[in-house]
């Protein structure tokens, strides 16, 4: 009985790291092209990021935060831009794939902002245009 308890505890010590890494297995890699070379500088190590898309809605460019608190893993240079790899859940992957359906046109460009590593707060973000700033 004592040995059983001891072995169970020991087994639990090994399960804990496995459980932590298995959370990553629910995420899949997804690559997007982001404007500029800054991601090459930032993504020497994975970072938590938000992704902003610039989409033309009814003739006006709008900025929309399409993804929040996603893990950006690495970046590769693509000319003047960067191709970044995101680790996305199924829901986030669908969000990105359905942007044209949601907003009526393909995103013109993507930009990336970085969060504090442990800030997981998500907000209800509304699209904005420069026109709305000066009205």
């Amino acid at each position: 009985m004592k040995r059983l308890i001891f072995l169970s505890l020991l087994a639990a010590l090994f399960i804990l790291p496995v459980k932590l890494s298995s959370q990553e297995n629910e995420l899949s890699p997804f690559t997007i092209t982001v404007k500029g070379l800054a991601p090459i500088l930032i993504l020497k190590t994975p970072q938590q990021a938000d992704i902003i898309a610039i989409i033309n809605i009814k003739g006006t460019d709008n900025a929309i935060t399409v993804l929040q608190n996603v893990q950006a893993q690495k970046a590769i240079q693509q000319g003047a831009d960067s191709e970044i790899t995101l680790m996305l859940s199924k829901a986030d992957t669908e969000t990105l794939n359905n942007l044209e359906k949601t907003y009526g046109s393909e995103p013109k460009t993507f930009l990336m902002t970085i969060r504090n590593n442990i800030d997981s707060q998500q907000y209800n973000m509304q699209p904005v245009s420069l026109e709305s700033l000066f009205r």
Binding site: K2, I5, F6, L9, A12, L13, L16, P17, K35, G36, L37, A38, P39, I40, L41, I42, T45, P46, Q47, Q48, D50, I52, I54, D61, N62, A63, I64, T65, Q68, L111, M112, T113, I114, R115, N116, N117, D119, Q121, Y123, M125, P127, V128, S129, L130, L133, F134
Partner: protein, 147 residues
């Protein structure tokens, strides 16, 4: 008593595990500097501008663009008029860096301002430097070129 000892051993392991892992995870320099509910936005600037800013600097971000304006007593040119506005004031520079002769600063802004700054990337952006103690924010008029 014997089981208590095993429990203590497990607790010791968990504390060690969390603290050693925290050491590895917290080694991400920019990710640590950003205050909660803010974002680090990468902004490409000129070499001249990069020469006057460093981490901790406070700046205003100016945007120059062509605007179709209705101004009394003047006809509107079809091209529009070049104007400059102060888009964001009292912005903290978190970090500066350089890659392939391009200078970048990482500015600390709210998620909403990040959306406006993302849109402004299509226009001409400039920065002006503040005294780090000057945190005043005031409504700024537009600068016109057709006076």
């Amino acid at each position: 008593m014997k089981y208590m000892k095993s429990l203590i051993a497990v607790l010791v392991f968990l504390i060690a595990f969390v603290s050693l892992n925290a050491e590895a995870v917290n080694d991400l320099f920019l990710g640590q500097k950003i205050p909660f509910s803010y974002r680090a936005f990468p902004l490409e600037i000129s070499a001249e501008e990069a020469s006057m800013v460093s981490a901790g600097s406070r700046i205003d971000i100016l945007m120059t663009f062509q605007a179709m304006l209705k101004r009394s007593g003047r006809s509107i040119s079809q091209k529009g008029e070049i104007v400059t506005v102060t888009l964001l004031q009292n912005i903290l520079v978190l970090e500066t860096s350089k890659i392939q002769n391009k200078n970048y600063i990482f500015v600390n802004i709210t998620p909403r301002d990040a959306q406006y700054l993302a849109l402004a990337q299509e226009q001409t952006l400039n920065i002006s430097l503040r005294n780090p103690k000057d945190r005043k924010i005031a409504p700024m008029p537009v600068a016109f070129t057709e006076d």
